[in-house]
């Protein structure tokens, strides 16, 4: 038998000579730093969620009806009548939220350990593009069930483009294919959600990984293992502080994947709507173009950006400023490698200023999320009694917006003018031998 397999292997190898070297380059001979910690799970977890979304998504399309008249009913049909349809849909909806959980943590890891810095700027940029496409993909998927939140979410997000002077209203009609979200809108969003954006997303993920494997992985110490001592158990010329990705990290990652699946299964089986955070209650009502839900707010992962739109008032007769600020909040993330001029990567050896600032940035992001999700609208009257809610909420939200953008200004000044007092960086990762 062994002979037969060897023969088949040789046959393929002769006809696709690049296959085995490709596999070795990215798996068994890709040397990753041996000091990865918990934060290094989230990249692979994002891939697991992506696979889940594609697999469950394919099965959902088999019963979904992309039309304004039929979409809502077909989702109910999937939930009630299709065998195991409820499970497949809850896997997809829970996966969407978990995607953002792991991606946010994955990005935060990059900020902590300076993974966006030279020579990994391209990895960061491709990752940010993935984040951008992911947001578009999530938004369009959110519209497909055609509940009332789907409808009004679509209306508000598309109307963001309407604030652009001169071409705005034409652009909005062009995106919707009608004068309000309608059949045409739903159909094109379906096409983009299930074909166009997933293709782009997959391509970007592949490029993201290739770009990473060109320069090698960063690690919690922020020292490049390629510049450290050479020679390990497998290869005398390769970094001493690296281990082959396969089997060492593939097996290691299985543990993390197990935990992710455990958490996901708990949500899917016991709290699929997650108290209205993953699936909103108002979306159980069919789309109604004459009634806006009393409390309209996006799904949790968009709330920080949504809050920024709300906090910026209109000036000079146009509402474009809030929209610009929101897109700006995403654009500055792209520019992280250029705002941060510091040479030291890892937070372990960076100045106190950076540690504090990063903490403030996280608080600002969460604070904006609280405003966008309507948490502040609930707790302000509760904590402070009968006060003018709008004034208080605006004051808080605007402070958080200021801190969000202020972080980038501080980061640039702090590193550009050499105010940062860093600690000595070790020559090689601290966890060796």
């Amino acid at each position: 038998m062994a002979n037969v397999f060897t023969n088949i292997g040789d046959w393929v190898g002769d006809r696709a000579p690049g296959l085995a070297p490709f596999y070795r380059k990215h798996m068994t001979e890709y040397y990753a730093p041996k000091n990865f910690n918990l934060w290094y799970y989230f990249g692979v977890l994002a891939i697991v969620v992506l696979v889940n979304q594609i697999l469950t998504g394919i099965f959902l399309t088999m019963n979904y009806n992309p039309s304004a008249a039929g979409a809502f009913d077909s989702v109910q049909y999937i939930m009630r009548d299709v065998e195991w349809g409820w499970l497949i849909r809850y896997m997809h909806s829970t996966g969407a939220s978990l995607f953002f959980v792991v991606v946010f943590l994955h990005m935060f890891r990059g900020l902590m350990y300076g993974s966006y810095k030279k020579p990994r700027e391209m990895v960061w940029l491709l990752g940010m593009l993935i984040f951008l496409v992911l947001m578009a993909e999530a938004f369009m998927g959110y519209v497909l069930p055609w509940g009332n939140m789907s409808f009004w979410g679509a209306k508000v997000i598309i109307s963001l483009f309407g604030t652009i002077p001169v071409i705005g209203s034409t652009l909005v009609e062009w995106i919707m294919g009608d004068f309000l979200p309608a059949d045409a809108t739903l159909n094109r969003f379906f096409a983009l959600h299930v074909i166009a954006l997933p293709i782009v997303l997959l391509l970007l993920v592949v490029l993201h990984i290739f770009a990473l494997h060109e320069v090698g992985s960063n690690n919690p110490d922020g020292v490049d293992i390629k510049h450290g001592p050479k020679g390990n158990r497998w290869d005398a010329t390769k970094p001493a502080d690296g281990v082959p990705f396969h089997p060492y990290y593939t097996v290691h990652d299985l543990v993390g994947i197990g935990f992710l699946l455990l958490i996901a299964a708990f949500i899917i089986f016991f709290a699929p709507t997650f108290g209205g955070w993953f699936l909103e209650h108002d979306n159980s009502i069919m789309a109604n173009n004459l009634v806006t839900p009393a409390e309209i707010k996006p799904v949790w992962y968009f709330t920080p950006f949504y809050a920024i739109v709300r906090m910026i008032p209109s000036l000079f007769g146009t509402a474009v400023w809030g929209v610009l600020a929101m897109f700006g909040a995403i654009a500055v993330l792209f520019l992280f490698p250029w705002f941060d001029r510091g040479q030291v990567k890892s937070i372990r050896y960076r100045g106190t200023g950076y540690k504090v600032a990063l903490g403030v940035f996280v608080i600002a992001f969460l604070g904006l999320g609280a405003v966008g999700a309507g948490i502040t609208a609930e707790v302000i009257p509760e904590w402070f009694g009968n006060v003018d809610l709008t004034t208080w909420e605006n004051a808080f939200g605007r402070l958080m917006t200021l801190l969000y953008f202020g972080f980038f200004a501080f980061l640039w000044a702090y590193t550009h003018f050499g105010w940062e007092k860093t600690k000595p960086v070790p020559d090689r990762v601290t966890m060796h031998d």
């Binding site: 209306k155 294919g177 045409a184 004459l290």
Partner: protein
């Protein structure tokens, strides 16, 4: 062939010319795909005028009717509500609707009440910020979002506020007063939305 001298200028010209012609082709092919996203003929055709009786709308009540799939608010404003309108001017962005909101109503509704008859407000109920439908909060009592509330509209999406003539308050995201559609009175208790009064431009 190998001995012939390469004419680099000629080669550059041919490369550029090929690229330009190819580029024009790509752009031309893109046009139908981009145009296919515009509202279709069917979508454009669905926009007939709507006739609505006002007989059963009580004083202070609002009725919402659909016109071109847009919600149109029809409010029978009370004397008290009308009396508050001039008192709000200092808090509004464009109280006379002749500045940034000059295009938000037909000429015959460009007045303090933004209507043909003072008591009847007929307005497209779409927030000028991002297109939500603001809620009608007609009672004049302190609200959580405004302790000095004198009745009006409150948008659930981004908390924009308007008075009872759809005029936007200062300090909210919405930039303009809400839009007044073309409409006219067929008789005392019936209006038609979508058609200007006779003689009005």
């Amino acid at each position: 062939m190998a001995n012939e001298v390469v004419d680099h200028g000629r080669r550059r010209f041919l490369t550029a010319a090929t690229a330009v012609v190819g580029g024009v082709g790509v752009v031309s092919v893109a046009v139908p795909f981009i145009k296919s996203w515009e509202p279709s003929a069917r979508a454009k055709a669905a926009g007939a005028p709507v006739t609505q009786s006002l007989a059963k709308i009580e004083s202070g009540q609002q009725l919402i009717v659909g016109w071109r799939s847009l919600p149109v608010f029809i409010v029978n404003r009370t004397k008290d509500q009308l009396a508050t309108l001039p008192t709000q001017d200092s808090r509004l962005v464009d109280p006379k609707s002749d500045g940034s909101s000059a295009q938000q109503q037909p000429k015959y509704a460009q007045n303090e009440t933004r209507s043909i008859k003072p008591e009847w407000l007929v307005m497209i109920g779409i927030c000028t910020h991002l297109g939500c439908v603001p809620g009608y909060v007609g009672e004049m009592k302190p609200e959580p979002f405004d302790p000095n509330w004198k009745g009006g509209y409150y948008c659930p999406c981004h908390h924009s506020r308007y008075d009872l003539a759809g005029r936007v308050y200062q300090g909210v995201p919405a930039p303009k007063n809400m839009q007044i559609p073309p409409y006219h009175f067929i008789d005392d208790t019936t209006i038609q939305i979508g058609v200007d009064p006779k003689g009005a431009a």
